[in-house]
């Protein structure tokens, strides 16, 4: 298995731990990733809200680069994943968008013919690798660690390519295969606040609090995320939302950190040492070695 790896900006910034742990997981499962040479911004957030067409052209360039290499793209960041997917759909559905993007690409000597599949790591792990193969490689079972899976909005909506839109379960199944116990709560696709924390801080903090308190209420010892922004919101603003409502402290990690841990990666190689809410004590309590 070999894919073109598209890290995007977050995985080289706040989401560094996501990259570190994901690469460790893929290495452990013999999936080859080759970073897309000369990739550019995926076109998410600012571009998408200000000038959609430019955003499609930016995403189109990344797709074209992958198509030239005849590789499918792995896009771990939920925002990248959505924009790349959306661009493909829009190019199919709206001829004039296709025309604009094609023209823009032609200007830099690229073409795109919709042959690239944009894949999410969850999709690859579940459908290409399979639960059995993963379970077989688990070195450190998660011993019933109670995890609240949190999917956020972008990886299953509006395009549900590999999981149910309203009740996704791919992360649940992966982490269960590693021995974790999933906490069922009803907010696993509800809004994390997105960038509200910056614009309407009270609303952002409320939304963050709802998620934390529901996960906590059902006994979660950690929250697993798939998106750098979700992870950031849920981890960084625990104190602020706690001040506004009531304090809750719960480690918020990437699903890939838990997977990497189970597959034997040391905690300090997969970014756990940088967590704002450390998971160490929880792991110690479960007697899960993490060095």
């Amino acid at each position: 298995m070999k894919f073109a790896y598209y890290p995007g900006c977050s995985l080289r910034g706040t989401g560094r731990a996501y990259e570190e742990s994901l690469l460790a997981v893929f290495r452990a499962l013999d999936i080859e990733l080759e970073e897309l040479d000369d990739w550019n911004c995926c076109g998410a957030t600012t571009y998408m809200s200000v000038d959609e067409l430019t955003s499609y052209a930016l995403a189109g360039r990344n797709l074209a680069l992958a198509e030239r290499k005849r590789q499918d793209i792995v896009a771990p960041c939920a925002a990248c994943y959505l924009v790349l997917n959306k661009t493909q759909h829009y190019m199919e559905d709206y001829p004039e968008i296709k025309l604009t993007v094609t023209r823009a690409l032609a200007a830099i000597g690229l073409t795109y013919d919709n042959h690239v599949r944009v894949r999410h790591p969850l999709d690859i792990l579940l459908n290409d690798v399979g639960l059995k193969a993963i379970a077989a490689k688990v070195k450190r079972p998660l011993k019933g660690l109670k995890v609240a899976p949190y999917y956020g909005c972008q990886i299953v909506r509006p395009y549900s390519t590999f999981d149910d839109q309203r009740n996704p379960t791919s992360m649940d199944r992966l982490l269960e295969a590693c021995g974790a116990k999933m906490v069922h709560y009803s907010l696993k696709t509800r809004c994390c606040g997105g960038s509200q924390k910056g614009t309407l801080p009270e609303i952002g903090l409320d939304l963050i609090h709802y998620l934390l308190s529901e996960a906590h209420k059902y006994g979660a010892e950690a929250i697993a995320t798939v998106c750098p922004l979700c992870q950031f919101n849920l981890e960084s603003f625990q104190k602020e939302s706690g001040d506004r409502h009531h304090p809750i402290s719960i480690p918020v990690v990437y699903f890939s950190q838990l997977l990497a841990l189970a597959l034997g990666a040391p905690a300090n190689k997969i970014g756990l040492q940088r967590s704002l809410v450390p998971i160490g004590s929880v792991l110690a309590e479960k007697e899960i070695a993490y060095a």
Binding site: D93, Y94, P95, E96
Partner: protein
């Protein structure tokens, strides 16, 4: 003694086998020769075109013309002989259907010239000389036969009274046809002088064909050891017998080779190839496209197989000419606005 009926033989685009077939009548030819007066037969007797031109119109009882029509000379001779003859008989597959030369209709004229005068390994033509219809020489001009775009069967050039099928017609077919013509009880114009049912009827292997044939693999004669008793189609060979007019008594099958369809279709069929295609494809033992395609891959040249003798007289007559392909197509507004 009453005057013997005058007959003529002529040879257009063909291999000459049909005239050979006339000779193959063996001693029976003596009866024929005794009964008729041959007035024109370039291959055997020294008559010239102007001899024919000098004859009164309609003075020849029957002209047996073999070969398809490719050149202007052949066309001219076909018109001339038509005018001079009471009955014009198309003799053999080429004249009847277009024949083997008719397969040239799979190519454009320019490609044929290029292949023959430039690209064939045995050709040296550094000056790139191509055939022409008029050649000026020493202040004079020589007219030469022109090469038509396509090969045509005789009846696509002039009206034909009767057809004697086969490549070549077997002596039996030819003899019976001549007897019919000489008998004075002439069949309706346009009749093919052979039975109007398919060859299986007279095939010796008919009884060995299973009632429920299902073909999962097509084979070519060189690929297998052919059972000498069993129906060839049942062995996966593309035997055209079911789609081919009878009369020849299946000598090819007797020689352990499949029928290739030289006698053409029955009177009820417009397109021999299409009919055989329909019949044989129906018998393919598969229901999904990929499997059907896999089975069909064993037929590398469908047109050459289905229309070996009948391409010019088939419904499409020839491969679509390159020149007729469209210039830049007009873009309709609907295409660009699709999806809204």
């Amino acid at each position: 003694m009453a005057e013997k009926p005058k007959v003529a033989f002529y040879w257009c685009a063909s291999c000459g086998g049909c005239e050979e077939a006339v000779v193959d009548l063996a001693e029976a030819i003596l009866d024929v020769v005794a009964a008729v007066d041959i007035v024109f037969w370039p291959v055997a007797l020294d008559f010239k075109r102007h001899d024919v031109a000098a004859m009164p119109d309609g003075s020849i009882f029957a002209t047996f013309l073999n070969g398809a029509i490719r050149t202007s000379e052949q066309e001219e001779m076909a018109h001339l002989l038509r005018r001079k003859s009471k009955a014009l008989v198309a003799l053999g597959s080429c004249s009847h259907l277009g024949g083997i030369p008719g397969l040239a209709n799979l190519f454009d004229r320019e490609d044929i010239f290029k292949a023959v005068y430039l690209e064939s390994p045995s050709t040296v033509n550094s000056e790139k000389v191509f055939p022409v219809t008029r050649y000026p020489h020493d202040g004079q001009s020589v007219d030469l036969p022109g090469f038509h775009t396509s090969v045509r069967a005789l009846d696509q050039v002039v009206s034909v009274d009767y057809y004697i099928p086969g490549c070549p017609p077997t002596p039996k077919i030819f003899h019976a046809a001549v007897q019919t013509l000489l008998s004075g009880e002439l069949p309706p114009k346009g009749t093919v002088l052979a039975p109007d049912h398919a060859l299986c009827d007279e095939c010796l292997r008919k009884d060995t064909k299973p009632e429920k044939l299902s073909i999962t693999e097509f084979k070519r004669p060189q690929q297998i050891l052919i059972d000498e008793q069993k129906c060839l189609l049942a062995q996966g060979l593309l035997c055209m017998g079911p789609a081919t007019r009878a009369g020849c008594e299946a000598p090819c099958v007797a020689g352990n080779m499949p029928c290739t369809g030289c006698c053409g279709p029955t009177s009820r069929v417009h397109d021999q190839g299409a009919k055989f295609l329909s019949s044989v494809a129906s018998l393919i033992g598969a229901k999904d496209e990929a499997e059907i395609d896999r089975i069909l891959d064993a037929i590398p040249d469908p047109v050459g197989t289905l229309y070996r003798y009948s391409l010019p007289s088939s419904l499409l007559q020839r491969k679509r000419l390159k020149e007729t392909s469209p210039q830049a197509p007009a873009v309709s507004s609907e295409v660009l606005h699709a999806g809204h």
